[in-house]
């Protein structure tokens, strides 16, 4: 990843230039945090957490399909999960991710504050993906 203004969940949106990706007449892609592109809800099934990632607008769904791959999500959660599966729901503009072994035993065994994976949803929304600059300008707050 290239230069990146970091913003820690604060008011300043995270956006920078992505290296070597999405170069076109429209310019280089910019890195945008998923919170500006999607909403999400998560839950648990045993020691697996699921995150449903839902495009904020229908036009954003193809961007999610292209950029929020299972491999990228696995890298995002490295050290926190053992594996990631992705399912597509184009009818809902949503992707469903299964995050395996994410809950430290899960259910009643887990000692975690988030034993039932309720806020893995917003942890995924921290992920940054490259988007065309015009789209970045549109979705980021001014």
């Amino acid at each position: 990843m290239a230069t990146r203004r970091t913003s820690k969940g604060g008011r300043r949106p995270s956006a920078g230039r992505a290296k070597g990706r999405g170069r076109s007449a429209a310019g280089r892609a910019r890195m945008v945090q998923l919170r500006w592109l999607a909403h999400a809800r998560s839950g648990d099934k045993g020691n697996t957490a699921n995150v449903g990632l839902i495009a904020l607008e229908p036009e954003l769904y193809p961007v999610l399909v292209r950029e929020v791959t299972a491999a990228r999500v696995a890298r995002h959660f490295r050290g926190m999960v053992s594996g990631v599966e992705r399912f597509e729901l184009p009818n809902l503009g949503a992707l469903n991710f299964l995050l395996h072994d994410a809950l430290d035993g899960g259910g009643t065994i887990s000692l975690k504050t988030d034993a039932q994976g309720k806020v893995y949803s917003t942890a995924l929304l921290r992920l940054e993906i490259p988007v065309p600059p015009a789209l970045a300008r549109r979705v980021l707050p001014r």
Binding site: K8, N50, M80, F87, T108, I109
Partner: protein, 462 residues
Amino acid sequence: MSDRVVRIAAGQGFWGDWLEAPVRQVRGGPIDYLMMDYLAEVTMSIMQKQKSRDPRAGYARDFVPLMERILPDVVERGIRVTSNAGGVNPRGCAEAVLEVAGRLGLGDRVRVGLVTGDDILGRLDELIARGHPLADMETGRPLAEIRDRVLAANAYLGMGPIVEALRGGADVVVTGRVTDTGLTLGPIFHEFGWSPEDWDKVAAGTVAGHIIECGAQASGGNLLKGWRSVKGMADPGFPIVEASPDGTFVVTKHPGTGGVVSVASVTEQLVYEMGDPRSYITPDGVADFTTIRLRQAGRDRVRVSGIRGSPRTPMLKVSIAYFYGYKAVGTLVYAWPEAYDKARAADRILRQRLADLGLEFEQILTEFVGVDATHGRLSGKPDPDAPEVQLRIGVRAPEKAPVERFTRELAPLVLTGPPSVTGFAGGRPAVEEVVAYWPALIDRGEIERHVKVEILGAGGGG
């Protein structure tokens, strides 16, 4: 009557949900059914423990005073209730409801449908002996490994016995471990007389049930998209399904209530606890969530259509709870300046003391609330100027003694550790028993031939 709709209202999304919700669902506008889901995966083991101390216990006790509040309205308005509040003692629960009805002078107007047969705790040895391994669906280990620690074992029943109870004239249906979705499917199939092998209809009803089974989580509660603009959440409208005979339905809520029913609110609930969206498996059939169509059809109205399904599987899921060990979680709060460093120092000291005492734990987990407790290392760099940080330490062990001793090691840190510490007013943390969950599968026939539906009260016998 192609325009006829059946209204099923969600009254409780879990045991402990907002107690006013069912009252408002009954009084706030027209509904035909009130469905109340009480059972999470480990709830049955809590109930089994209560029953072992008192044979009359073992069900969601809140349900009875709640029925006392709403029964007069329910009877007057002709509303019927479906609930899995029966837990591991549905008969006790049903009898308690009848007793309340009698006390309210409604004894001749209320029939209670009682569903039993899901509880297989007493049949486990026989089932294992006859070659049912009841292996853990996640690990594949046979149940025999933990047989002596099993506290509860219940098969998930579907809509069948609920349809039968409603057909038999029950006004209130009390069950044990019936699926959340079955509580909604039952009324719809009963009203429309659909074939239980019309798999698209089964899938549609399953999706309807899934949308309302968590109560207000489909109508503005826990809604991330535009959460600031969700109004009136002091008095949220719980969701209502208006089912149509063609298998489509509308999700809505009573007028004048808070919250919102939107494509976003319904979508967030649809993806909640989702696995493979193409096969959402219930005892009644398999729903394909990639076929669901949602459309905003007016204020607080979402139309749901297009749902396809496939036949039910030959197996039923069994939910087994077993004793695992003990755990405790304690917290201390460290104040500015250098709050995080102080909390980390305290954690090191505490761990050293636990080690010096020779205590053995299966796990010790430290989290710093305000720094990394919910998002782990994704939380980014800690704020060096944080006003406070809560140290949160949990331990788990097979034996009680080390956990018990751990709970006595937190308070001493206040006077024997890093400075500017507070927040210990709650005293020693409690030692909790850990009951773990063991999901398994069993042949449908082994369960179904034991399922029984009885109609109690109002001259229905019993």
